[in-house]
Symmetry: C2
Subunit: 323 residues, 2 copies
């Protein structure tokens, strides 16, 4: 599949009305920020557009909703475009297939490695070297000649800052900084305010849960692999929900001598693993073995057995990556 | 005192040789990164220059040393300039007065509010609206026509990213992003590598100490003020040193509903308080009452009694700031 240009995608979108925008399941800052930014831009062009979700917006991202999100499949009489953002493939929009299929045209804008996809897109663009899909959306909004309002800036800033680990991860580029730098020229833009909304609304209970996880890490490979576990029992004990584990994997990665960090999150129906590497390990290669994926130093995959089984399956594969 | 221009300071420095550069006591990333960056730039112009310290470089900042630091007052036969960076006033370079007084000329480059100073500078520049002194040093190095090498970029990136809280604090500006964005054009620049050196070399002991502090916070003002305490006893119990408390105040600030966070650090001879505000409180005004200072949302001051007395003195003053 060829990568379409931003300009050609803008030309297509400019002619369309009735647009549904789809973030991936377990939406994060980049997914929702990108979707809402584009939705706001399309509306400012007088178009009818919505972000289609069927999961609640995570509490720390509630300000990215911007009146854009709906779970009503029939919110639009006519859907001329279904647009997948920050993901590709039906599996990543599970539960919203009916709404997706309403689109007469199908499009995709993403920054993940081009994997297998089961969808025949009318246009498709992925930029694996771009840190955040929010950057691509910024460029698209500029190509659509839409003014970057404060709300759009907030959404794009949230998208970029979360996906670059606050401009620290190796995916960060000059473009990430250039785009966010421009937002400071917008009246009322306050990175601290956005940052506090994303990161600084943790409950005391979540902090207690985090202390417990960090106090009981398992180490492997001469201390080069650290594994943390969030079980359903721990969540109950502390009175937390799983979306309050945001940022916990970064805490694990802050330990001296670690190359690979894993956080197992026990969901009712599966165990999700977040995997990070510090310097050299290609954890994406391992995540792919377990039908997952992501980025070279930040990936994830899902297991369907017990927590213990997931750990026994994953750790030996990760150990092979150690120098 | 007038603010001298970067260009006029560059003109003065270009004519001088034998330069001692002074970071403030309890050097942080901005102080040491700025000093070493300038020292490297001066050496590339063929000048003899050193960063004068009398405290060990914090472990997480060791890579900013760059062969620049010395505690030897007589390292230079002739000192034609003593230059204070990221601070002003003799109190901030306590213990290095003799070395400072060797300079025939005295200069200061800072980004803190212009306070009282007991020094008659030959040139002086402070930019309170600039997020990091590293940005001013970057502009000075450019004015000196020195190429930004990888080592200089690493120093400046460390200075800016630490002082802006990874581009999240409200002091961040377009310039902070613009300068760091340019570094990605330098062969070998890797923000992740620098970031991992600064933030991701914490000992397991430090993580345990942190858990204990966060598990025993005191709350005041209907939960709007959170106070953490690192006593000498706790450090001994966990086997840590005080410089391993870096980042702990940000953890306190991440709690929902907090406006002001305080971390008391019990040193052998005094109690240091780090004070942060989330949205509106001017904590600098309170820090000044206790002979401290800093920035509007990030300040510090020192107490000379017990931990309990420090808390009893400081908290009522901070409470007055709450809405």
């Amino acid at each position: 599949m060829m990568n379409d240009s931003i300009r050609s995608i803008a030309t297509i979108i400019r002619e369309l009305d009735g647009i549904l925008i789809f973030p991936h399941i377990n939406m994060d800052g980049d997914a929702l920020g990108s979707c809402s930014a584009l939705c706001l831009a399309l509306r400012s062009l007088g178009k009818k557009a919505y972000v289609m979700i069927d999961q609640p917006v995570p509490k720390n991202l509630d300000f990215l909703e911007c009146g854009c999100c709906t779970d009503d499949d029939s919110v639009l009489d006519e859907v001329n475009l279904s647009l997948m953002i920050d993901c590709s493939g039906m599996k990543r929009i599970k539960g919203r297939e009916a709404a997706w299929n309403r689109g007469k045209l199908k499009g995709c804008i993403d920054h993940h490695q081009k994997g297998m996809t089961d969808i025949r897109y009318d246009f498709f663009r992925t930029e694996p070297m771009t840190a955040a899909t929010g950057e691509i959306i910024y460029n698209l909004i500029k190509a659509l000649d839409v003014e970057i309002t404060l709300d759009i800036a907030n959404c794009i800033f949230a998208a970029i800052t979360t996906d670059t680990g606050n401009f620290q991860h190796s995916n960060t580029t000059k473009q990430s900084h250039d785009i966010c730098g421009l937002f400071y020229k917008i009246e009322g833009f306050d990175s601290k305010k956005i940052s506090a909304l994303i990161y600084d609304r943790r409950s005391k209970e979540a902090l207690r849960m985090e202390s417990k996880v960090l106090g009981s890490l398992n180490f492997y490979g001469n201390g080069q692999i650290a594994v943390g576990v969030v079980s359903q029992a721990l969540l109950e004990e502390c009175g937390c929900t799983m979306d309050e584990t945001e940022g916990l994997i970064q805490r694990i990665m802050s330990i001296d001598g670690i190359e690979i960090g894993v956080l197992f999150k026990q969901n009712p129906d599966c165990v999700r693993a977040s995997i990070r590497a510090k310097n050299y390990a290609n954890v994406e290669s391992v995540a792919r073995k377990f039908d997952g994926g992501g980025h070279v130093r930040a990936s994830g995959c899902t297991f369907y057995g017990t927590l213990e089984e997931a750990e026994q399956d994953l750790v030996p594969e990760l150990s092979k990556l150690l120098k």
